[in-house]
């Protein structure tokens, strides 16, 4: 038995362990990131017909939370934290369920709001509030 053969034998358990660890990593990543990679990171809701239109949902959630905090700070009645109300506005409004069309209509008609000063279409904020209220609160 040569020294080099002994070395190959000794590598087997090491390689096996590495493979196991890699497999665990892949599985873990798949469990954690899989839904996002498949476009389904967020829990299913009854508003997904609207929320799935938001290609940058994380930003929409942040914006929605800012809008809600502003409304609370200034004791404004709008936007409402009621997701159902926001969804109803988007489905029954001029966009008929299309957030993009609703935003375009708002822009043409001048239905704009200021959120922390940002001049935005009303329906954009409705969608952002919907995204915020339909998502788990930040830890």
């Amino acid at each position: 038995m040569t020294a080099s053969f002994r070395s190959r034998i000794a590598r087997r358990p090491v390689l096996a362990s590495l493979c196991a660890l890699f497999g665990l990593g892949v599985a873990g990543t798949a469990i954690y990131e899989g839904p996002r990679l498949l476009g389904r990171r967020y829990p299913r809701t009854k508003y997904d017909d609207l929320l799935d239109q938001l290609s940058d949902r994380e930003s929409a959630i942040k914006l929605g939370r800012i809008a809600l905090a502003q409304a609370e700070a200034y004791n404004d009645s709008w936007p409402s934290p009621d997701a159902g109300e926001a969804a109803r506005d988007l489905r029954d409004g001029p966009g008929k369920g299309s957030v993009a069309h609703a935003a375009q209509s708002d822009i043409v008609q001048g239905r704009l709001v200021e959120v922390q000063g940002w001049v935005l279409p009303v329906s954009e904020i409705s969608a952002a509030v919907l995204a915020a209220t339909a998502s788990p609160a930040p830890a």
Partner: protein, 502 residues
């Protein structure tokens, strides 16, 4: 060429006869003399300062202030030949048509004539300011070379352009034109003009019946006193000193010359220029260079701005405003979220977006209580000093807010960008407040003596040989910078004097 005279060498008690006394050697006074150069009219220009800055002379401007914070009265203007053109920014832009209109929703509005009356004088005024060819809102040629304007959707705000005074002659790189330095030799070549430096007009002395100007008291800081006896006189001392001289000349008319109806000194105005009023985001990150800084184009210097259309102003009862793009900034988390969400909903790529602060110049509404008044304090010449009661109305800020809101809407409509409005409360506006040093309104023009100090020809009501030049005669103020427009008014006055002084 004729050398300038020095009032300090005029013997005390002298009386100097002349056809036309021009009181003040700033842009208006100089423009008037140049415009009448080809006439036989004997002119005498009285300039308080010399050819350069002098602290003692400058201190004659000192005064007091009340109301909202404002620039010290001896800091926002300059008292030597060329006047405040010695420190102006060079911004030129003609008044808009609506600026001349009587608007039922804007008290005290309405000039005695429309824009068409001044239009024949704009090109010459522009030439005096050395601001190049008159191409303000005809930018197609040069924007083709320097980049397209930021796209805006249909609406009430449009891309407009300043042109800049650019001193020619021996120093073509000098921005902008300093009228004293630039036109000294031209003034010396006028055969019937005497320019007298260090000559302070301290009184407009009317005939006992108050119906005509008899003579002008002149004093120097060295203690000389003498008299100028003109057939006609034009007061061209600027928007603060014009009313001061009229109010202080109260020996015959006890309320001051031209002040029978308590209007002299009222309606003072300036352009608020609060900083960082908004943030503009351009989705594709591209803005033409002429937005941020003045740029050479077609033998002129230009800078873009956003302005409300006259139609939008009428529909929404708004004052004028000119918003400019200033410095690039980084957005905070809220801004990034707003941009990302908006871009995703509009279906545009904002990965290369850039953000900039927005500056502005705002027109204020006429206010009779925003005024200068005489005090009991006196300067070294014995002239009463002034106090300024400065005001700015919440409605002035609200008007600008509405314009920026519309700009934001049009950027969204064009899918080219978006706006953040940075100020909403009065405290927020005032915290970033600055002023344009555009002193206007204190001897306003109106055909009715009860509503104006001067008539449509710039003549002081009731005194046929006394006129006023400069932006103090503006009844309303526009958002445009006043110098070029004031020059146009002065050239029009020169035509009037040319006719009546034949």
């Amino acid at each position: 060429m004729r050398a300038f005279l020095d009032a300090r060498s005029v013997p005390a008690g002298t009386t100097i006869d002349t056809d036309l006394a021009i009181i003040g050697g700033g842009p208006s006074g100089i423009a008037l003399a140049l415009a009448l150069a080809d006439t036989p009219i004997r002119m005498l220009m009285l300039e308080s300062g010399g050819s350069d800055y002098d602290a003692q002379t400058q201190s004659l401007y000192a005064g007091a202030e009340t109301g909202v914070p404002y620039i010290k009265l001896d800091a926002g203007r300059l008292r030597y030949l060329g006047g405040s053109s010695n420190h102006w920014g060079g911004y030129c832009r003609p008044l808009d048509a609506i600026d001349f209109e009587q608007r039922d929703w804007l008290p005290y509005s309405g000039w005695p004539f429309g824009r068409e009356t001044l239009e024949p004088y704009f090109a010459r005024a522009q030439s005096l300011a050395e601001a190049g060819p008159f191409i303000y809102d005809d930018p197609a040629k040069w924007t083709a070379a320097q980049g397209a304007p930021i796209p805006l959707g249909d609406g009430g705000v449009y891309n407009t352009y300043f042109q800049f005074s650019k001193q020619g002659g021996y120093n073509p790189q000098h921005l902008p034109t300093h009228f004293g330095e630039r036109y000294s030799d031209d003034l010396k070549r006028i055969p019937h003009l005497s320019v007298m430096l260090h000559a302070n007009a301290t009184g407009l002395r009317l005939a006992p019946n108050g119906a005509i100007l008899n003579h002008i008291d002149v004093a120097t800081l060295t203690g000389r006193h003498f008299t100028v006896k003109p057939k006609y006189a034009v007061v061209a001392l600027g928007g603060i000193e014009n009313p001061r001289l009229l109010l202080a000349s109260n020996d015959v008319m006890k309320t001051g010359v031209g002040n029978a109806n308590d209007l002299v000194g009222r309606f003072f105005a300036d352009h608020p220029i609060p900083g960082e009023t908004a943030t503009i985001v351009v989705f594709n990150g591209n803005i033409a260079p002429y937005y941020q800084l003045p740029r050479d184009a077609l033998d002129t210097v230009v800078r873009a701005a956003f302005a409300p259309t006259d139609r939008f102003k009428r529909e929404h009862r708004l004052m004028g405003a000119l918003a400019t793009i200033e410095n690039e900034i980084q957005l905070d988390a809220a801004g990034q979220a707003a941009v990302a969400t908006t871009a995703s909903i509009l279906g545009v790529d904002a990965t290369a977006m850039r953000a900039y602060t927005v500056g502005c110049g705002i027109e204020v509404a006429p206010d009779p209580d925003r005024r200068v008044k005489l005090t009991t304090s006196r300067d070294r010449l014995g002239m009463p000093r002034l106090t300024l009661d400065m005001r700015v109305a919440d409605s002035d800020f609200a008007s600008y807010h509405r314009v920026i809101l519309e700009l934001g809407r049009q950027l969204l409509a064009a899918k080219s960008g978006m706006i953040r409005i940075n100020r909403s409360t009065r405290a927020e506006w005032m915290s970033v407040m600055d002023w344009g040093n555009h002193h206007m309104g204190t001897t306003r023009m109106h055909v009715d003596p009860k509503k104006g100090v001067v008539d449509a020809n710039s003549q002081v009501h009731g005194i046929p040989n006394l006129y006023i030049a400069g932006s103090s005669i503006f009844p309303t103020y526009s958002a445009s910078n006043p110098t070029m427009n004031s020059l146009a008014l002065t050239l029009r006055l020169a035509d009037h004097l040319r006719k009546i002084m034949r």
